[in-house]
């Protein structure tokens, strides 16, 4: 088999056993890999109604057909589970060397079930002479408890005595089952969203170390090599210049000027301190170095350092992305770049999603300013917008579940349910997942994307904002086309996230679907057309929704927080612009129609049949063929 191995490794932490399960060629072809194949496997291996923080909830690491080909940006993997933050699908991507080792060690996926009795390091190693034979060890990891994510990764490599091991691990926040804890790999890259790290922490699984030898073969190596050279050349063109020169932090100044930079918990859409924390300023004053993932020609990563005399956090360098910058800066009213850098370093060290962490602190800051939280609750902290010291200490408290941090570690939706008094209205989340840095009132297509995406408010699974940042639509008003645009953008992202290509490569393709289908055929030897690939995207989008429906989704879950639907923007070029519930419902209806779903957003049996998803209603495990 080319591009795939046709099998996944199942590890049961409770029984300390493992086995190989077959993955049929139809499943591989229909769901591609990454997020798509992961969704298929999650649907199969997660029992309906499973407690996200229970032994039955599987944690999946999934590779893709492009991993190991050395095509630019292809060293990526997906991590999936049922989210403890949302109760729905959790699907995140991460990247770099771990992706290759995962494929060489565990086949197409590693599926972890059960729960270890004590803190455990799961060590999986292939045999160099007999690659199909693997050793799975459940090692005591008590000595690793409490270490920060980066220190833990280093300690494991030192303990194993082989730097070629690749490690995925949680930090203290994962151990504390903070509901938005992340999983870290390859020196600080994060599978960040939806609380994957909390699931790992519940399982008492502090880290996974992989070292494999399975061959990664492609059907047409010369064609892949030739295509790869051409794609790498294109990846260095104007279409990626933003990412190569400044990285995603370039968004701050632009979004501020366009009135779409969420500020002080989405109360405003411009920030008076935006220039101080802009990508341009950080580039000038805080850049330590540029770097990138394995097998990437773009190199979008910006390692920034703080320059102040604060503690050591942030002085060794931290990866900074726009989403971390917006959430820990403008969203909390913080304009001091040193504070924002240190805040991102704290989140990475503890292993927490920076978006959810920042957004939950921003919610708490508003509660504090309105008197719903007091210094008694905060342990004396003046938790108002702009107080950088309070931000840093609250992040630490969240990661360790200390004091007010224990409440905030549940995420903004759950915290608002406890505090009440109307604070739900400014808990800026969808389905429990905190919103990214795209103001929905001045980006109407993205407003729809944020409302309907299965994993919750997300800018990665829906790229509907692309229409708003173009001349295709008027971003300040709604119309009937938005439903189709949102559906197409989701399907596009589903294919991108399943092959898996980096999002920043997307404009380097002449024709994304045509080229990707050709590459898929070259790698796997299975003929794939652009039309079939589009259908794969639609199928994956439907299956994500099907998973959520199975786990209790209703029409009421596709919405935006009351603030976004009731308060017009007070400032910037979009001052006075709002988004009504009627406007959002109008767009959502158009989206359901574009999907061929019912008016309530349910998937019809005809649609399931059309997508080839009807047979997925068989009970869990029945299709698993053990090898």
């Amino acid at each position: 088999m080319y591009g795939y191995h046709g099998k996944s490794l199942i590890v049961d932490l409770s029984t300390r056993t493992h086995r190989w399960d077959a993955i049929g060629s139809d499943a591989l072809r229909n769901f591609i890999g990454g997020i798509g194949l992961g969704t298929y496997l999650l649907y199969r291996y997660c029992p309906p109604g499973a407690d996200p923080l229970g032994p039955d909830n599987p944690l999946l690491f999934v590779g893709s057909p492009l991993v190991g080909t050395r095509l630019t940006t292809s060293s990526k993997f997906a991590v999936l589970t049922k989210s403890p933050l949302t109760g729905f699908i959790a699907d995140s991507l991460s990247s770099s060397h771990l992706a290759t080792e995962l494929k060489k060690c565990c086949g197409d996926a590693l599926i972890i079930v059960g729960r270890a009795g004590e803190p455990t390091l799961l060590r999986i190693e292939g045999d160099a002479l007999e690659p199909d034979h693997i050793s799975v060890k459940f090692e005591d990891a008590a000595d690793l408890a409490g270490l920060g994510a980066a220190a833990r990764e280093e300690a494991i490599k030192e303990r194993l005595g082989d730097p070629r091991y690749r490690v995925a691990c949680i930090g203290p926040a994962g151990e504390a089952q903070v509901k938005f804890a992340s999983i870290s790999n390859d020196g600080g890259r994060q599978a960040g969203r939806c609380g994957l790290g909390a699931v790992m922490g519940y399982k008492n699984l502090l880290a996974v170390a992989l070292r494999g030898h399975l061959p990664v073969e492609v059907a047409q190596p010369e064609a892949v090599r030739s295509y790869g050279k051409d794609l790498s050349r294109r990846s260095l063109g104007a279409a990626t210049e933003k990412y190569r020169n400044l990285g995603t932090i370039a968004n701050v100044a632009v979004f501020n000027r366009l009135g779409t930079l969420p500020t002080r918990n989405f109360r405003e859409s411009t920030f008076e301190g935006a220039e101080q924390v802009s990508g341009e300023e950080l580039h000038r004053n805080h850049l330590q170095r540029n770097t990138g993932c394995a097998n990437c020609t773009i190199g979008c990563e910006r390692i920034l350092v703080s320059r102040d005399r604060g503690d050591r956090k942030g002085r060794g360098g931290v990866r900074m992305e726009y989403e971390s910058l917006f959430a820990l800066g403008p969203l909390c009213g913080v304009a001091d770049p040193d504070v924002v850098i240190r805040a991102a370093a704290i989140c990475d060290d503890l292993g927490m999603d920076t978006i959810s962490a920042g957004a939950t602190v921003a919610w708490a800051m508003e509660c504090f300013e309105r008197g719903l939280l007091t210094t008694e609750d905060t342990g004396g902290l003046d938790l108002c917008f702009g107080n950088g010291d309070a931000l840093l200490r609250t992040l630490e408290d969240m990661g360790h579940r200390r004091g007010i941090g224990n409440l905030l570690a549940e995420g903004s939706r759950a915290a608002a349910a406890v505090v009440g008094s109307g604070s739900e209205a400014w808990a800026m989340q969808v389905k429990g997942l905190e919103m990214p840095g795209y103001e929905p009132r001045s980006l109407k297509t993205m407003a729809l994307g944020l409302a309907i995406t299965p994993r919750g408010a997300c800018h990665n699974r829906s790229s509907a904002y692309e229409a708003d940042f173009s001349d295709r639509v008027d971003r300040l008003s709604v119309d009937e086309a938005r439903g189709r645009i949102a559906a197409e953008s989701e399907d596009f992202e589903a294919v991108l996230d399943s092959l898996i290509w980096c999002k920043f490569l997307r404009k380097a393709f002449h024709d994304f679907y045509e080229e990707s289908a050709q590459v898929y055929s070259m790698v796997t030897g299975w003929e794939m057309t652009a039309h079939e690939l589009r259908r794969c995207g639609e199928r994956i989008s439907n299956l994500k929704k099907l998973f959520n429906i199975r786990e209790g989704w209703t029409r009421a879950d596709d919405t935006l927080p009351p603030r976004a639907l009731e308060e017009p923007l007070p400032d910037g070029v979009a001052a006075g612009v709002g988004l009504t519930k009627e406007e959002l419902d109008y767009m959502i209806a158009g989206y359901y129609q574009a999907r061929g779903w019912t008016a309530d957003g349910m998937i019809t049996e005809d649609k399931l049949a059309e997508m080839g998803l009807l047979d997925l209603t068989t009970p869990v495990g029945q299709d698993a063929i053990r090898l």
């Binding site: 104007a238 020169n245 400044l246 370039a250 366009l258 341009e280 989403e323 008027d474 404009k507």
Partner: protein
């Protein structure tokens, strides 16, 4: 920002790579009337030659792929031609919005 009968005065705000390379956040230009896309690009290149190859095409015909103009923070101008009025502000930004 008033122009003469023969010119239109506009401001061009620079973001990201163009700002880094030109060393400035904004430039004011007098663009020959009627001020359209081609004349704007030519005037911008003349005042800010550092933008050639970093936002503006070397042959002065247009923006590079991957860049776009936005008018007054509101409308994205795409590839079509346009005319400008005195006091307009154009944002030169990357067309890659993701992050």
């Amino acid at each position: 920002m008033n122009g003469t009968a023969a010119t239109v005065r506009v401001k061009v705000e620079l973001f990201g790579t163009p700002r880094i390379h030109s060393g400035t956040a904004a430039v004011e230009l007098a663009v020959p009337y009627p001020a359209n896309r081609g004349k704007l690009v030519a005037a911008l290149a003349k005042q800010c030659p550092a933008l050639l190859g970093h936002g503006l095409k070397e042959d002065l015909t247009d923006l590079e792929d991957g860049y776009v103009f936005n008018l007054n923070g509101l409308a994205f101008l795409g590839e079509a031609d346009f005319t400008l009025a005195n006091g307009d502000s154009l944002l030169l930004i990357s067309s890659q919005a993701g992050g």
